[in-house]
């Protein structure tokens, strides 16, 4: 199983880095949105809550442009049957999950510094901010993986994916926005409940997705 996961991961990274379709779309959206917001603000700093909301909206929609691609590409290029007969559904899910998490980390690594720079955001609790961004990103990618498989099987494209993802990931965005605001304000939380929620959400949604994936992937 480990070999299958590694083979599929290697294939997905090779295909993505040759076409760079998902990465280009996500990065282009992130840069355009961040620069547009920065120009609109005209150097006037936003309140910390607005900064958090903008940051998470840009992260969410940048990621949505690419996270669905991992399964939609298999259906669009008619390679899903080849993939299906080559390895088990469990290996496919785990490799796609790891790929989406890696993709999300790349998006976060590009969007966050860009946003902090262009909007001149000052972070007071840096470690809390970084942990919030990482665990929020982890939760979004975890929830998005099974949704991407469902959207691909439904013959859907990006817009359907964003619409379906929004209600599922709203609690994640809500908690991430307020935790980010606290880190910008320097309001150190007493019990780190937000981070616990985000990590618990990731764990729960990943476990449920793993159990349900074969029913989405294998159509009888």
């Amino acid at each position: 199983m480990v070999r299958e996961i590694l083979r599929n991961l290697s294939k997905d990274f090779s295909v993505e880095f040759r076409t760079r379709f998902a990465l280009n779309v996500s990065i282009a959206f992130a840069v355009t949105a961040t620069v547009s917001v920065s120009l609109t603000a005209g150097g006037v700093p936003f309140p910390s809550l607005v900064q958090s909301i903008l940051l998470w909206m840009i992260i969410f929609f940048s990621a949505m442009n690419g996270l669905s691609h991992i399964f939609v590409r298999e259906e669009d290029q008619a390679t899903a049957l080849f993939l299906r007969i080559t390895m088990s559904a469990d290996s496919i899910f785990i490799s796609k999950f790891i790929y989406n998490q890696s993709f999300m980390m790349i998006v976060l690594a590009v969007v966050t510094p860009l946003f902090l720079f262009f909007l001149q955001v000052k972070v007071i609790l840096i470690s809390y901010f970084v942990l919030t961004i990482l665990s929020g990103g982890l939760s979004i990618a975890a929830g998005a993986t099974i949704l991407a498989a469902m959207v691909a099987k439904a013959g859907g494209k990006g817009s359907l994916f964003s619409i379906l993802s929004f209600p599922l990931l709203l609690p994640v965005l809500w908690v991430s926005i307020f935790a980010t605001k606290n880190s910008l304000d320097g309001a150190r939380p007493a019990d780190y409940n937000s981070l616990v929620f985000l990590l618990a959400f990731s764990g729960f949604i990943s476990a449920i997705s793993f159990l349900l994936f074969r029913f989405v992937w294998i159509e009888d």
Binding site: S10, T19, T79, L81, F82, I85, T86, S88, D220
Partner: protein, 204 residues
């Protein structure tokens, strides 16, 4: 694969799409060392039957069982003992033939990969991306991918599609040689490929 004997058996296979019965109550069995041909008009259910035999699709009724005769044991999960290809099995266009082969090969050795590439006249083209392959070359690669891990049961849906006369000759000679030690199931309307099979059924 040498010395291992497998048996695939279809019992009462029926497939319906809505109220439309595609085929009904099919019964047959096949062991390694023999070949079986499924013919029939377009839409008669050849591809569906092959997908059911390969375990890709469930039948409306009936069952398919696989057994390792040499050990006298039924096999519940037989994905590793079946090599399947069909018109909808597409390799990755952005990868080279060799990368697709390594992706599909769970346990294939370099010597086997080389001999299959040579047999299907793809030596020298293995580093080309699939998007630069002709449809005939892609079809030959599909057959290589199906037989890559040396499965005892080989299920091929229209294997001669897109092949020119020389490609068909290569395919026929290959099928002739592998059917000695494997169970080969073909869906075809090519008379020459049909002649290679010991037995068969006609659908529709």
């Amino acid at each position: 694969m040498t010395g291992v004997r497998y048996r695939i058996e279809a019992r009462g296979l029926t497939q319906r799409f809505g109220r439309n019965v595609i085929f009904k109550n099919l019964n047959f069995a096949l062991e390694t060392g023999s070949s079986f041909c499924i013919t029939g008009a377009n839409g008669s259910g050849k591809s569906t039957l092959l997908k059911i035999l390969a375990g890709i699709q469930a039948p409306s009724d009936g069952s398919v069982t696989y057994a390792d005769i040499s050990r006298g044991a039924l096999i519940k999960e037989c994905s590793s003992c079946i090599g399947y290809t069909g018109p909808l099995v597409n390799p990755y266009d952005d990868l080279t033939a060799l990368e697709n082969i390594y992706f599909a090969s769970g346990r294939a050795e370099k010597s086997r990969i080389d001999s299959l590439l040579k047999c299907f006249h793809l030596t020298g083209h293995e580093d080309k991306k699939i998007r630069h392959y002709s449809s005939g070359m892609k079809q030959r690669l599909r057959i290589i991918l199906a037989d890559l891990n040396d499965p005892p049961i080989l299920i091929l849906d229209e294997p001669g599609t897109n092949l020119d006369e020389s490609g068909r000759r290569i395919l026929r000679s290959y099928l002739d040689s592998v059917s000695v030690e494997k169970a080969v199931i073909l869906a075809t309307n090519d008379r020459d490929e049909e002649k290679l099979c010991g037995r068969g059924i006609r659908l529709g």
